[in-house]
C-alpha cells in the first residue's frame, strides 16, 4: 500500500448528509483520492470493523467522524477509531454539537422508544415489539444489538477530538479546505474549528440592509410572510440566527431565502450557542412592558428546539432534567 496519508470516514448518529458532502465534492473527490488513501468508509466501501481493529494504533492519519454518539456501538467505534487515528475530526454538527439527534435529550430512552415503536402515527406494531440488546435466534445463537443511551453525546464528550468541521452538513468547500489544511502540514491549534471565527452576518449578502437600530415588535415564521429576497431576514421579523452563527457556509440558506438556523454553531468566544442567541434576539424586543414582552416572545415557538436545534448536548445543561434519578 502507498505511503499516502490514510483517511477514514465514519458515521454515527446522523442522517447521512455529511456523507453526501463527501460525495458532493464531485470531481474534486479525485484530488482527494489522489492525495490520500481512504482506508475505511462503510457507507461507500466494503470495510468491516475487524479491518480497523486489525490496523496498528495510529495507522490512520485522520478520521472524519460524523454523527452524534447515542448508542453503545457508536461509543465503541469512537474509541476504536480514536485509538487507530492520529487525528480525529468531529465532522458536522451532530458530531461537533450533538445536532438534530441531540434534541432527543429532551426525553429519555423510554420516551424515545415509546414514541417510535408505539405512538408514531406511522407505527404498526400490534405486538409492541421493541429492539432488544440480546435476541435469541430460533433458540440457538443469540443476536446482539447496540443499545440507545438516555443522553445523546457529542464526539468530544466521548473521546478526545483534535479538530471540528462544522455544518449540517458541512459544505464541500469547508470539507475541502479542512482536508487541504490538514494536508498542508501546518496544523492549526488543537481543538480548532476549521471554519471562519466571525458570525455569518460578515459574509451575508443582505448585511447592508439591516437597519442600524433594529427592534422587533412581531416575530414571523417563514410560511407566514412573503419574504423579501433582498432585505435582512431578521429585519423582516424572521428568526435568523446568522448573527450568532459561525460563518463559512457563505449564507447558503439565506441566499435561498431561508433564515439561518445555526448549524455552524457558535464562535470560539461563545460557550453556549442557544443562550447567546437567546440573549441577542430577546434584547431586540421592542417593549418595556412585562406583559407585552411576554406576548412578543411567545411568538417564538419551541425556544429550545429553535435555539438549540443543533447544540443541545453541547450546551451546559446537555439534556432535560431527568424526572427519575
Amino acid at each position: 500500500m502507498s505511503d499516502k496519508p490514510k483517511v477514514a470516514f465514519y458515521w454515527c448518529a446522523s442522517c447521512g448528509g455529511c456523507e453526501e458532502t463527501v460525495v458532493d465534492l464531485e470531481e474534486k473527490i479525485l484530488d482527494v483520492v489522489a492525495a490520500v488513501d481512504i482506508v475505511f468508509w462503510p457507507v461507500a466501501l466494503d470495510f468491516k470493523r475487524k479491518d480497523v481493529e486489525a490496523m496498528p494504533d495510529g495507522a490512520i492519519t485522520a478520521t472524519f467522524l460524523n454523527g452524534a454518539i447515542r448508542t453503545t456501538e457508536q461509543e465503541e467505534m469512537a474509541h476504536l477509531l480514536r485509538k487507530k487515528s492520529q487525528l480525529l475530526i468531529a465532522f458536522g454538527a451532530c458530531s461537533q454539537l450533538g445536532g438534530i439527534p441531540g434534541l432527543a435529550n429532551l426525553w429519555d430512552r423510554r420516551r424515545v422508544m415509546t414514541a417510535v415503536y408505539r405512538e408514531a402515527p406511522s407505527t404498526v406494531n400490534p405486538q409492541g415489539t421493541a429492539p432488544q440488546a440480546k435476541h435469541a435466534h430460533d433458540g440457538k445463537q443469540s443476536v446482539t444489538l447496540p443499545t440507545l443511551f438516555d443522553t445523546v453525546k457529542t464526539l468530544d464528550q466521548t473521546v478526545e477530538v483534535d479538530y471540528y468541521v462544522p455544518g449540517c452538513p458541512p459544505t464541500p468547500k469547508i470539507l475541502l479546505q479542512a482536508v487541504q489544511t490538514l494536508l498542508s502540514g501546518k496544523l492549526p491549534e488543537k481543538g480548532a474549528v476549521l471554519a471562519p471565527d466571525t458570525a455569518l452576518c460578515e459574509e451575508c449578502p443582505r448585511k447592508d440592509t439591516r437597519p442600524e437600530k433594529l427592534t422587533i415588535k412581531e416575530w414571523k415564521r417563514p410560511h407566514e410572510i412573503l419574504i423579501d429576497p433582498e432585505k435582512c431576514l431578521l429585519a423582516q421579523g424572521l428568526l435568523c440566527l446568522g448573527s450568532a452563527t459561525r460563518g463559512g457556509c457563505e449564507a447558503m440558506c439565506v441566499k435561498g431565502n431561508m433564515p439561518c438556523t445555526g448549524c455552524f454553531g457558535p464562535t470560539s468566544r461563545v460557550r453556549d450557542f442557544g443562550a447567546k442567541s437567546l440573549s441577542a434576539l430577546a434584547s431586540l424586543v421592542d417593549s418595556n412592558d412585562e406583559a407585552e414582552i411576554g406576548k412578543i416572545l411567545a411568538q417564538i415557538p419551541d425556544p429550545v428546539g429553535t435555539l438549540y436545534r443543533y447544540s443541545l448536548p453541547a450546551s451546559p445543561l446537555r439534556r432535560k432534567k431527568p424526572e427519575v434519578i
Binding site: T198, A199, E212, L214, T215, T267, S279, S283
Partner: protein, 665 residues
C-alpha cells in the same frame, strides 16, 4: 481567546475589621484555606486592612514575594475598592490587579452566630476572587473633564447658601426654584431657635445678594425637566413656567396690584399658608426675590373669562411688563456638577385625624402659627384665633406625623426645638398658659438644652405623653367651649384632660411628594422613607452614588438651619473640589469591540441608551466610544458572537467567579 495575564502570583488578605468580621468568620482558617488555592503565594489575616499598616503589608509583600495580584477579603467594594486599588498602585502594580471580596456586609454581619456557615461562605467568595483575578488585565484609568458651571436645584436656605459660596468662588451657578420666590421655608419663619434672632433679618440679605450676584443665574417658577450626561458633563433642561410678567421689565412698583379690578385681596395666599388673602396679581411677600409680581391664571379674570378691564396693564403703562400670552420657556444648560437642595414638606395635618385639624377651627399647624407670630404675617404678628380673640391657653402637641407607625416612623429632629420656640413666642405675644405635650424632649444642639430650661423657668407647662385626641367634648363647665386634649401624663401616670383655646400641631418633616421623580431625574437613590441617600452616612454625607451630584439640606433628611447651612457649604466645596481638579477619574469598566471578531450585525447598537456604540461604515463593524460608555455591559451580554467585551467584567472573569463560588473544578 482571552488569556490569563502571565502567571499569577496572588496575595490574599483577610481583614478582621476588628471583630466585625473576625467575630463571625474564622479569619484564621479562611487565610489558611486561601493559602492553598492555586496561584496564591501569600495569604494573611490582619486587624484592619484599610489602615496604613494594613496597606503597607500589601506593599512589602509585593516587593518581597513578587506578587502581581491582590485579593482583599473585607468590607464592601463600594466602601474601600478605591483604597486597595491605590494600595496596589503604590506598590507598583496596576490598580486593577486588586480585587475585593465582601465578607462583611454580605457575610459576617448578616450571618451572626453562624460561624461555620459564614466561614464556608467566605471561603467560596475568596476562592471565586482568586480564580477571577487570574484573568484580570492592566487597565488605564479613565478621566473626564469637569464643566465649571453648577446647577443648584432649590432656592431655600440650603440652595441659597451653596449658590453664594460657589458664586463667590467664581463659579457660575444656575439656581432653579419652583416657587415664584426664593427663600423656602425659612422665609416663612418668624424667629429661629435657640437664639431667637429674626429669620427674615438673616435670610433676606442673602436672598438679595443671590439676585445681585453676577455669577448666579436665578430662575424662579422653574423646574428641571430633563437631565442627561454624566459627572462633569451634565446636559440639563429647565422649563421656566410663565409668571405672565416679564422679569426684566417689571420694576416691582406693585402699582398693578393696587390697580387690580379686585379691590380687596380675596384668594388664599400661599405664603401665609392660607391665613391671609391676596389678589390674582401679587407678590408672595414684601421681601420676595425676585422683586417681581406674578399673575395667578387660576384666579385672574382675564384668564378665566378674557373679559377683564386689565387695569393692571394700564397701571404698568409703558413698561409693558405684563404679558398674558407668556408661555413655558425651555432652557438647555451644560453643567459639571449638581447640588440638590430640594428641601422637605410638612406632613399634612389631615393625616392625623384624631387631632381634628380642619374640623375645629382653633386647631393650627406649626407653620400657620409661625405666620401668625410673624410681624409681616396676616395678623401683623398678633397671635389671635380665627374669631380675633387672643387665646388664654394653648396646647402644643409635639411629634405630629413623626415617630408614628401610621404616618412617619422617623423623628423630624426640629419639632422639639421649634415647639419650644413657638411656646416661648406665643407666651410672649399672648401671656397665655402654654402646655407642651411631648413624647421625649430632644434637644441635642448648641444652646438647645439651655433653651429648654429657660422655658421651664418661664412657666411653660410640659406634659410627657402622647395626646390621644383633641375633642370639644366638655365633661364639666370648665371645659365648655374649649378644645380638650386627652392625654396620659406618663410622669404622674394618670389620664388628664387639658382644656385650651388653641391647639398647635408640631408637624413633622417628610420628603416632597415628588421626591421620587427628582430621584429618577438625577439617577440617585432614596431610603425607604424617601429622603435622598448620601454616598456614606458618615464619610460622604453630601455625596450621592451618582458622581457629581451632591445633597444639601432637608432633601437628605430632616435637619435644622445651622446643619442645613453647614451641609450646603460642604456640598459647595465638594463640588468645587471636583471643578478645580478639572477632571475626574472614572471606572475603566467600559465595553470594547474585538474588531477582527465583529461581524457587524449591529445588534449592540440599539442596546446602548447612551449612543456609545456606532457602526463604522468603512469597516462594517461596531465601535465603542469609551467616553460615552457608562460600563453597564448590557451590549456585551447581548452580542451574539461574543465580540463585545467589558473591562473588569470579562466573560472569563465572571465564569471563573461563578465556578469559583460553586467550587467547580
Amino acid at each position: 481567546m482571552f488569556e490569563t495575564n502571565g502567571t499569577a502570583r496572588i496575595g490574599v488578605y483577610v481583614c478582621h475589621c476588628g471583630t466585625n468580621i473576625a467575630g463571625t468568620v474564622d479569619v484564621k482558617s479562611l487565610a489558611e484555606y486561601a493559602a492553598g488555592l492555586p496561584g496564591v503565594v501569600v495569604s494573611r489575616e490582619y486587624k484592619y486592612m484599610c489602615s496604613d499598616p494594613g496597606q503597607e503589608l500589601i506593599n512589602s509583600d509585593v516587593r518581597e514575594h513578587k506578587l502581581n495580584r491582590i485579593v482583599v477579603a473585607s468590607c464592601s467594594p463600594l466602601l474601600h475598592e478605591h483604597t486597595f486599588r491605590t494600595a496596589a498602585e503604590k506598590s507598583g502594580l496596576n490598580p486593577y490587579y486588586a480585587h475585593m471580596v465582601n465578607i462583611r456586609e454580605h457575610d459576617s454581619w448578616v450571618h451572626q452566630g453562624e460561624k461555620e456557615a459564614a466561614t464556608e461562605k467566605a471561603k467560596d467568595l475568596v476562592r471565586a476572587a482568586v480564580r477571577r483575578i487570574r484573568y484580570h488585565k492592566p487597565l488605564e484609568k479613565g478621566y473626564v473633564p469637569i464643566d465649571p458651571n453648577v446647577l443648584i436645584v432649590g432656592g431655600g436656605i440650603a440652595g441659597i447658601h451653596a449658590a453664594l459660596t460657589m458664586a463667590n468662588a467664581g463659579k457660575h451657578v444656575y439656581l432653579v426654584e419652583r416657587e415664584p420666590t426664593i427663600g423656602g421655608h425659612m422665609a416663612k419663619f418668624d424667629k429661629t431657635f435657640p437664639t431667637l434672632d429674626c429669620a427674615a433679618c438673616i435670610l433676606t440679605p442673602k436672598m438679595t445678594s443671590v439676585k445681585a450676584h453676577p455669577n448666579i443665574t436665578l430662575w424662579t417658577l422653574s423646574e428641571v425637566t430633563n437631565v442627561e450626561g454624566f459627572v462633569g458633563n451634565y446636559e440639563v433642561t429647565v422649563t421656566r413656567h410663565p409668571r405672565y410678567v416679564h422679569e426684566d421689565l417689571c420694576a416691582g412698583c406693585l402699582q398693578c396690584i393696587e390697580a387690580c379690578v379686585y379691590k380687596q385681596p380675596r384668594f388664599d395666599d400661599e405664603f401665609n399658608v392660607g391665613l391671609g388673602k391676596r389678589k390674582p396679581v401679587y407678590i408672595p411677600f414684601p421681601q420676595a426675590v425676585p422683586q417681581v409680581v406674578l399673575i395667578d391664571p387660576e384666579t385672574c379674570i382675564q384668564f378665566k373669562k378674557g373679559t377683564c378691564k386689565k387695569t393692571c396693564v394700564e397701571a404698568c403703562g409703558d413698561r409693558q411688563a405684563i404679558d398674558f400670552e407668556q408661555k413655558d420657556e425651555v432652557k438647555k444648560i451644560k453643567v459639571g456638577t449638581v447640588i440638590l437642595a430640594t428641601g422637605f414638606q410638612t406632613v399634612a395635618a389631615e393625616r392625623v385625624p384624631y387631632y381634628r385639624y380642619g374640623v375645629y377651627p382653633n386647631v393650627y399647624t406649626s407653620l400657620e402659627v409661625e405666620r401668625l407670630i410673624n410681624a409681616s404675617g396676616p395678623t401683623g404678628g398678633e397671635v389671635v384665633l380665627r374669631d380675633g380673640t387672643k387665646p388664654k391657653s394653648v396646647g402644643i402637641i409635639h411629634c405630629v406625623g413623626s415617630r408614628d407607625e401610621y404616618t412617619n416612623k422617623w423623628c423630624s429632629r426640629v419639632c422639639c426645638m421649634y415647639s419650644l420656640k413657638l411656646a416661648h413666642l406665643i407666651k410672649e405675644h399672648t401671656h397665655a398658659e402654654v402646655f407642651n405635650f411631648y413624647i421625649d424632649m430632644r434637644t441635642p444642639g448648641k444652646g438647645f438644652e439651655e433653651f429648654y430650661h429657660r422655658l421651664l423657668k418661664e412657666g411653660v407647662h410640659f406634659i410627657r405623653g402622647r395626646v390621644a385626641e383633641v375633642t370639644d367634648w366638655a365633661d364639666d363647665a370648665s371645659e365648655e367651649g374649649k378644645l380638650v386634649l386627652r392625654v396620659e401624663d406618663t410622669m404622674s401616670a394618670m389620664v388628664r384632660r387639658i382644656p385650651v383655646d388653641m391647639v398647635v400641631l408640631s408637624m413633622g418633616l417628610e420628603p416632597h411628594a415628588d421626591a421620587p421623580e427628582v430621584r429618577r431625574l438625577f439617577n440617585i437613590s432614596c431610603g425607604g422613607e424617601g429622603f435622598f441617600t448620601e454616598r456614606h452616612p458618615k464619610l460622604a454625607p453630601v455625596s450621592t452614588f451618582t458622581d457629581g451630584i451632591f445633597l444639601a439640606g432637608c432633601c437628605q433628611g430632616p435637619k435644622d438651619i445651622p446643619d442645613t447651612v453647614a451641609q450646603a457649604g460642604a456640598a459647595a466645596s465638594e463640588a468645587m473640589a471636583l471643578i478645580d481638579a478639572g477632571s475626574v477619574e472614572i471606572e475603566p469598566n467600559t465595553a470594547y469591540v474585538v474588531e477582527e471578531a465583529c461581524s457587524g450585525c449591529r445588534t449592540c447598537i440599539v442596546l446602548c441608551p447612551f449612543s456609545a456604540i456606532s457602526f463604522v461604515q468603512e469597516k462594517k463593524k461596531a465601535a465603542v466610544n469609551a467616553a460615552l460608555c457608562k460600563g453597564c455591559g448590557t451590549c456585551v451580554a447581548g452580542c451574539p458572537s461574543g465580540s463585545l467585551r467589558q473591562n473588569l467584567f470579562e466573560d472569563e472573569q465572571i465564569f471563573e467567579e461563578i465556578e469559583g463560588v460553586l467550587n467547580y473544578a
